[in-house]
Amino acid sequence: MKIFYPNHLIRVLGLSLCLLVLSLNSWGQDQNPPAPVQTQTQTQRNEQRIAQKGPETKFLLTGYGYTGFEKVGSENSTFGPAGFSPIFLWKKSDRLFFESEVEFEIEDGNLNIGLEYATLHYRLNKYLTLSGGKFLSPFGIFQERLHPAWINKFAEKPMGFSEEGAMIGPMTEFGASLRGGAQIGLSKVNYVLYVSNGPTLNTGSSNPMDAGRLDYNNLGDNNNNKAIGGRFGFLPFSSSWLEIGLSGQVAGVGNSGSAFQNVKTQMYAADLSIIKKVNFIKSNVDIKAQYNYVQTSKTNYLDTAGNSYTFNNTSTAWFSQIAIRPMFLEKSFLKNVEFTGRYSVLKTPQESYWAIDNSQVAMGINYWLKWNSVIKVNYQLTYSKGEQTEPGLFIQWGLGF
């Protein structure tokens, strides 16, 4: 009995202590989130993460914004252009994907709103993805890969690659495409083949000054002849530091049933991308270049006096650019500075009303605030045949979301 009594007491005391600890523990949980389990390894945590991937649809609202200031030649200085381009991404499954960009831009005192792209994608197999809708043109690399303000190393687009002056080559396509990439030994290839509404010939019926120009806003089509185009890219080295691309597109551009119905355009582009670490300047060197050639078949137009005339309708535009960023330096300020230079040339038919024979040198310094936020300061000189050289100063701040 003497032994049983303390034993009993110990049991009761032990039980009460347990209850107290448990209740304290659950009280603590109500007040604070549970402390992380320290014993888990990184691998276990990763496995857990893969197991709880969340909803099947993965959505991301991203995009970019930009603003700036410019002073060009004798024109008044002005703030702008400024823009806001939200991008919506929906990954519905490992095969099904949708992307869209809406564009708001204030330029030359106007607000422009547009649907830059809206594309559905379906991954058919390892090597091919089928896409449809409005998409950035894979003709060359500038429009599809380099034009967003936070990617473009310069405030302005190269001559011939924006609506300003003359557009030589498409910005977007409205149609369908097949695309993909493959590893071949140490090299890689990538390819895009597309059909789209294609460009439309401006015959000068509303303004004779525009006769022979191409309108690339291919939201509708003026004939049954679709544009067919593609790009083939080759990355010879396994670390992907070099890519060479060739593009082509053929399209009927005249209104069906009109005198221009047989007018066709053929265009070609060649592009080059180099990205390489150069040790002795502790920098990344980024070189990009693209050459566009656009030829529309010769046909007759009416001049401002109503007389028939014709010209060789061939235009070319090209740019080559370099950006050097000493990102491997110790100093944090210099690491984020980038030195840039670009040369671009634009030539349209000299016998047309829209003759241009320009070249341009742009130099700049960029400061990277973040991987997708950059402040650019550019000085630009534009040389036009028979005219005075036009200097320009541009400041632009781009920010990806």
Binding site: R49, K58, L60, H121, R123, Q183, G185, S240, I275, W371
Partner: protein, 92 residues
């Protein structure tokens, strides 16, 4: 004499072909063994500055991964490795 030349040259040819095949398979292994981090470092700088893993959470990286796979014509193997790396290295 002629026969010996033939034997020697066919041996040399076989050695040459063998060397090609073995180097091919070692090349193939080199490509197949690339880690997600290496593919991220090599590929994501080709068009823009490389984003760090902390830019997005795991789910957002899935959407970005598919966006970039299509835009850059990367192979599904490449992007799967890159996304796995980004998801394991972020602080989500």
């Amino acid at each position: 004499m002629k026969k010996r030349t033939l034997v020697i040259s066919s041996i040399l040819l076989m050695v040459f072909i063998g060397m090609q095949i073995s180097s091919c398979s070692s090349q193939r292994a080199m490509i197949a063994n690339k880690t997600g981090a290496q593919l991220w470092a090599e590929n994501c700088q080709r068009c823009h500055t490389t984003p760090s893993p902390n830019t997005f959470n795991d789910q957002q990286w899935e959407a970005v991964g598919m966006h970039m796979q299509i835009r850059a014509n990367l192979t599904p193997e490449e992007i799967a490795k890159v996304v796995e790396f980004l998801q394991s290295a972020n602080q989500d």
